[in-house]
């Protein structure tokens, strides 16, 4: 996973609530066996017209937002399907940070695993950032993960919260499987105790 330290980039406004993962990447594009290449289909139904041409009204089809690396949205971003193809599509498009008043739990988790930083902030602060994002060429904001601040175009700083363990993994670009395997002894102890305490516990074995 790529490290996330400081990001200075164009922020795109998506002033909608309940942007579901079907909207971020429709099911018909989930037939891949890879993590990459989904960016072209990100927000497919909003981004393209029925004939396949770009919808000029959609924000990410306009300059400077084609190069946006930050999204600002309303409540419950990423609800619905657990598909990690949603953060993969965002990442492949170039998005490294999503700021919203609230996120669906699974999307929130999935984002961290891919080096995308989801930031929860109160609605009024998101509204202010939404206004910043609407300033076209001046819509650049900075996200400093180490200091846990967002720096607005006018230089004002907004602090944000993040779980310390997740922050550590993001800053260092660490794989959480390695972190867990450092505690493999504890897993083995659990499994030994399970066998002793719940001897009836069945395993799945097919006869053939």
């Amino acid at each position: 996973m790529e490290k996330f330290t400081t990001l200075s980039a164009v922020a795109a406004p998506l002033p909608e609530a309940n942007i579901d993962t079907d909207k971020i990447i429709p099911a018909r594009f989930l037939k891949t066996t890879k993590r990459t290449g989904l960016g072209v289909h990100a927000f497919d139904s909003m981004r393209y017209r029925e004939d396949g041409s770009e919808n000029p009204d959609f924000i990410l089809n306009r300059e400077p937002y084609r190069k946006a690396e930050i999204l600002i949205a309303h409540e419950n971003f990423g609800c619905g399907s657990s598909r990690e193809h949603a953060p993969w599509a965002l990442l492949d498009f170039g998005i490294r940070c999503v700021i919203a008043p609230s996120f669906a739990d699974i999307f929130f988790n999935n984002s961290f695993k891919n080096g995308i930083l989801p930031i929860r902030l109160p609605r009024d602060i998101c509204d202010a950032l939404m206004q910043d994002a609407q300033m076209g060429a001046n819509s650049r904001i900075t996200v400093d993960l180490a200091r846990q601040v967002i720096i607005r175009p006018d230089g004002a700083e907004i602090p944000f919260d993040i779980d310390p363990f997740r922050k550590h993994l993001m800053l260092e670009g660490l794989d959480d499987i390695d972190q867990t395997l450092k505690r493999e002894n504890a897993i083995e102890t659990f499994e030994t105790n399970r066998k002793k305490d719940e001897p009836w516990f069945p395993s799945i074995e097919l006869d053939d």
Partner: protein
């Protein structure tokens, strides 16, 4: 004496392997369910890192999302779907994972197969790379959907990293009136608390109306907990649960079963357990429900009228309501009953069990699918299909003009060829009505199997109670 604990607290506590300094738990996972869409990248990650799959004997794989529901003796036409299925077959072989292949009688939707085979049991932690894993909570287990990176984490470590959720109890007390089903109950709940109402919580569904549901009904309710934004939904295991589990293929047998039941009886929430959030509904007040818009919270009783955006004070919400009306081609204030449908889909992990098919068959008996309506029945598994055929339900459906298809996720998400075309309106027993969910431009109304069957035979959205004998 320890303080009273909830069902969730108990399952959680009994699965914590270790706790990291910031409170993140390493949680042991008892059952890992795999399917073809969200597993290939995880297997690839495992392979690249040279890691083993820690517990094939706690893992089961099926194909469901991509599979055609038509004649399976023919090769799969869509090359990408075929590739995903073949990739899963290579992976399960390489890593030694138990697998129900496409032509197995046990094949089906992962959330139908787990309980049906006795793989999902009370008190377990169960995960799958699919948000509707919440279904298995009906067994009295902690079951939730995960992303593909987490799938890989579970493959490698048999654990997951998670912070404890908050406890929510939704009590439905009283008695449901005739013709009101589990689907109506869960739609009413989502209509009440909204699609983010359960965020950060595990919902325990409780109350006499929930206890009175059979296992299929409980699965329908827990299935849609994710549509209320919850991490998981669960229901206390009781004799209904144990009777369901007894004798299933992978369930404990004989003395082992008795020992398991003794343990499972300790799981229900203690008297006086405290919940972070409590919601109550009266069963008698729930009518047959359906959705009118493109979010599962846009719930109406079948007697209801489509809301008017003008009455919404928040500007962004008003715009969103208007957009939904436009997308769904409905008018503010119109009665939802009587709206013509083009397609009826009875299936999905929400409503494709034998009890669901029986409920649809009651309405279909002696009637015909309306002219110009395409009506499909997609059983949840090969076993459900065989059971239905043994009961003669297939004849009832075929005589009425329904399509009788093979098991899979099908038109719930349209990854296989079963899709709506732009503008088509569908009465669907599935779980999501998002824009384009069932096919680009398709319009979805979520409802129960009886209501779907009623729409099929009348050609319009209809109160199924009017057709009940």
């Amino acid at each position: 004496m320890s303080s009273p604990r909830t069902l969730f607290d108990k399952i959680w506590a009994s699965h914590v392997v270790d706790t990291l300094p910031d409170g993140t738990a390493i949680l042991y996972i008892d059952r890992h369910l795999l399917h073809e869409v969200t597993s290939p990248q995880a297997f690839e990650g495992l392979r690249l890192a040279g890691r083993k799959l820690r517990h094939p004997d706690a893992t089961i794989a099926v194909v469901d999302h991509n599979v055609p529901t038509s004649d399976r003796t023919k090769p799969i036409e869509e090359p990408e779907s075929r590739n995903q299925i073949e990739t899963l077959e290579r992976n399960v072989k390489e890593f030694g994972v138990p697998y129900f292949p496409l032509l197995s009688a046990s094949q089906g939707i992962v959330h139908v197969v787990g309980p049906e085979q006795g793989i999902s049991l009370p008190g377990m932690t169960i995960v799958c790379g699919d948000s509707h894993t919440s279904t298995h909570g009906a067994m009295g287990s902690l079951a939730f959907g995960i992303g593909t990176s987490e799938v890989e984490h579970v493959m490698a470590t048999q654990t997951i990293l998670q912070k404890p959720a908050k406890n929510m109890r939704i009590s439905v007390d009283g008695e449901l009136t005739p013709g009101v089903t589990a689907k109506d109950v869960v739609l009413a709940i989502i209509g009440k608390i909204g699609t983010a109402g359960g965020t950060g919580h595990v919902i325990e569904f409780a109350g006499s109306a929930i206890r009175g549901l059979d296992m299929a009904g409980r699965m329908t309710v827990c299935n849609m907990a994710i549509e209320a934004g919850a991490r998981a939904g669960l229901i206390a295991p009781d004799d209904t649960t144990f009777d369901y589990v007894r004798g299933r293929r992978f369930a404990p047998k004989g003395a082992d079963f008795d020992a398991a039941v003794d343990y499972w009886r300790t799981l229900p929430s203690d008297e006086g357990a405290v919940y972070d959030t409590e919601i109550a509904l009266r069963a008698e007040e729930i009518e047959p429900c359906l959705t009118w818009g493109t979010s599962p919270e846009t719930v109406l009783p079948i007697s209801g009228t489509v809301p008017d955006p003008a009455s919404e004070t928040d500007e962004a919400k008003r715009a969103q309501l208007q957009r939904m009306l436009d997308y769904m081609d409905l008018k503010a204030g119109q009665k939802i009953a009587g709206t013509p449908v083009d397609v009826v889909f009875i299936g999905s992990c929400t409503n494709s069990r034998i009890e669901d098919l029986r409920a649809a068959a009651v309405i279909a008996t002696g009637r015909k699918v309306a002219h110009d309506v395409r009506a499909m029945i997609v059983p949840g598994s090969g076993l459900v299909k065989a059971q239905a055929e043994q009961e003669g339900l297939d004849r009832i459906f075929l005589d009425a003009g329904f399509e009788w298809r093979e098991a899979g996720c099908s038109m719930c998400l349209g990854m296989n060829p079963d899709r709506l075309t732009p503008g088509q309106r569908c009465a669907s027993t599935s779980n999501r009505n998002f824009e384009g969910r069932q096919g680009p431009g398709g319009r979805t109304h979520l409802l129960s199997p009886a209501m779907a069957a009623a729409a099929a035979v009348t050609g319009v959205l209809t109160d199924a109670r009017e057709l009940a004998v």
